[in-house]
């Protein structure tokens, strides 16, 4: 049960050439969106090491958003295809680890799609808010009796 006024923390990994620029141009055109995302800038989504994603979740992120260039548009020719391959498998791992799908998104957002960036962030925050805090590091309680059901 999410407590009073839960504000989701979203860590966003954006590639320098597409999604980071989209975020810049969202700013330049003063589009307004929710302030829950924190952007970590990388040159290419291909630099995103799945370790970063797990680390973000472990350190308290309620959601992780990855933004890269559209397939075929990668500034480095095919970095985003490698991202796609890694994230495809990583999604399965996270699912098995009980992390809801809405908490982890891969979006192709080009420099032109400032509005898409805005709606994506808004939408994700809304969905994660509905899910409540991830609470990965919830302290475990040792019961007196050993439960079996």
């Amino acid at each position: 049960m999410p407590e009073e006024k839960f504000e989701p923390k979203i860590v966003a990994f954006f590639c320098n050439w597409c999604t980071y620029m989209a975020a810049d141009s969202a700013g330049t055109s003063r589009m307004q969106y929710v302030p829950n995302a924190r952007v970590v800038r990388l040159m290419c989504s291909g630099r995103i090491d799945p370790q970063f994603v797990l680390d973000a979740f472990a350190k308290g992120a309620d959601g992780v958003l990855i933004g890269g260039c559209h397939p075929g548009d990668c500034h480095y020719q095919e970095g985003n295809y490698k991202t796609l391959r890694r994230i495809t498998l990583l999604k399965r791992v996270l699912k098995e680890m009980g992390i809801e799908e809405d908490r982890f998104r891969l979006e192709w957002i080009s420099a032109a799609e400032a509005d898409r960036l805005r709606t994506t962030v808004n939408d994700m925050v809304e969905k994660v808010r509905a899910l409540g805090p991830l609470r990965l590091s919830a302290k475990e309680v040792i019961p007196e009796e050993v439960a079996v059901s």
Binding site: K59, P71, T88, L89, M97, G98, R135, A138, I142, A147
Partner: protein, 325 residues
């Protein structure tokens, strides 16, 4: 007692394979025994918890503790030995990374107990009896059992650890080198894993057979193909984790013509074995088409059990997200 360095061995949630490694030192064990006083080794020698409790703090030079931390009792022992030891060494995969028992972190205590005492096909248990932390023998007396944690923990998630000896189990050679290093007086940097810091490929006898540009269109499972005894296993489409796994085992599994499953854990430069090997292996998939990528990766039917076989508790996520009750 003599002023030789005092060494202790202890186990927690483990299979005993690490203890076998100590025994497998065979004659060499005598050199070790000659150089140290073994002050605590329940499996072999008659010293008990009380003896340890009686020691002054830091009386033990080095304690080698194998096994993951699974029960309240094991947690207590870990704290006790930490207090009494100058150096605490996580000995073996379970202690370092959680090991195979750590796979239990995909469920919680309740589900594990239910499966074992309720659902096992050979178990007849109409009353749904289960082991209890406290069982009343009668009105007055009762017998107790330690309680399992929901989450299997590594040693360093329980107490501070000075060094690690990797492997499931560590090879006698690795153990011997570790002991010698510690006896040499020239202590490595705290937190070091006492094994080579390059991946297994470095020492793999099949190293030269891996093509320079290897991509993978189809993942194979060991039972599906006749495994070539000479050729790089990854190049045969088998999910060999050697490129992500710390070396030092001299590629025993590969010499047995089976892929490396990663029991020596990651190198010092990698925080999460599973995520990193996932990144490397998925990158090799030979397709840029989303659907096809999905299809090829579906040929890895159990990513968690395969990539986190020994290291689930050590991963940043540690366990499956606890169900909110």
């Amino acid at each position: 007692m003599s002023d030789k360095p005092k060494v202790a061995f202890y186990w927690c949630a483990s299979c005993g394979g690490c203890e076998e490694t100590v025994v497998d030192l065979e004659e060499k064990i005598l050199d070790v025994v000659a150089a140290v006083d073994i002050v605590f080794w329940p499996v072999a020698l008659d010293f008990k918890r009380k003896d340890v409790e009686a020691m002054p703090d830091g009386a033990i030079t080095a304690t080698f503790l194998n096994g993951a931390i699974r029960t309240t009792e094991q947690e207590e022992m870990a704290h006790l030995l930490r207090k009494k030891s100058q150096l605490l060494i996580a000995f073996g995969a379970c202690s370092q990374l959680g090991g195979i028992p750590g796979l239990a972190n995909l469920w919680d205590r309740r589900r594990v107990m239910t499966a074992v005492y309720r659902e096992a096909p050979s178990t007849v248990n109409p009353q749904g009896t289960a082991p209890q932390a406290k069982h009343a023998h009668d009105g007055k007396q009762s017998v107790t059992l330690p309680t399992l944690f929901d989450t299997v923990k590594t040693l360093d998630q329980t107490v501070e650890v000075d060094y690690y000896v990797p492997g499931c189990p560590p090879t006698p050679k690795i153990l011997l080198q570790a002991v010698q290093t510690l006896l040499s007086g020239k202590l490595p940097e705290k937190g070091a894993v006492l094994a080579p810091d390059t991946a297994l490929c470095e020492e793999c006898p099949r190293k030269d057979t891996r093509p320079e540009k290897l991509t993978i269109k189809e993942w194979k499972r060991p039972h599906e193909i006749l495994i070539d005894p000479e050729k790089c296993l990854l190049a045969q489409g088998l999910l060999c984790l050697g490129s992500a796994t710390r070396g030092g085992c001299e590629a025993m599994c590969v010499k047995g013509n089976m892929p490396c499953t990663g029991c020596f854990g990651p190198t010092s430069r990698v925080r999460d074995f599973g995520a990193k090997s996932l990144s490397a292996l998925a990158s090799l998939v030979d397709s840029n088409d989303e659907a096809e990528i999905g299809k090829i990766l579906a040929q890895i039917p159990d990513p968690v059990g395969t990539l986190y076989r020994y290291s689930l508790p050590a991963s940043p996520l540690r366990r499956k997200k606890p169900e909110v009750i």
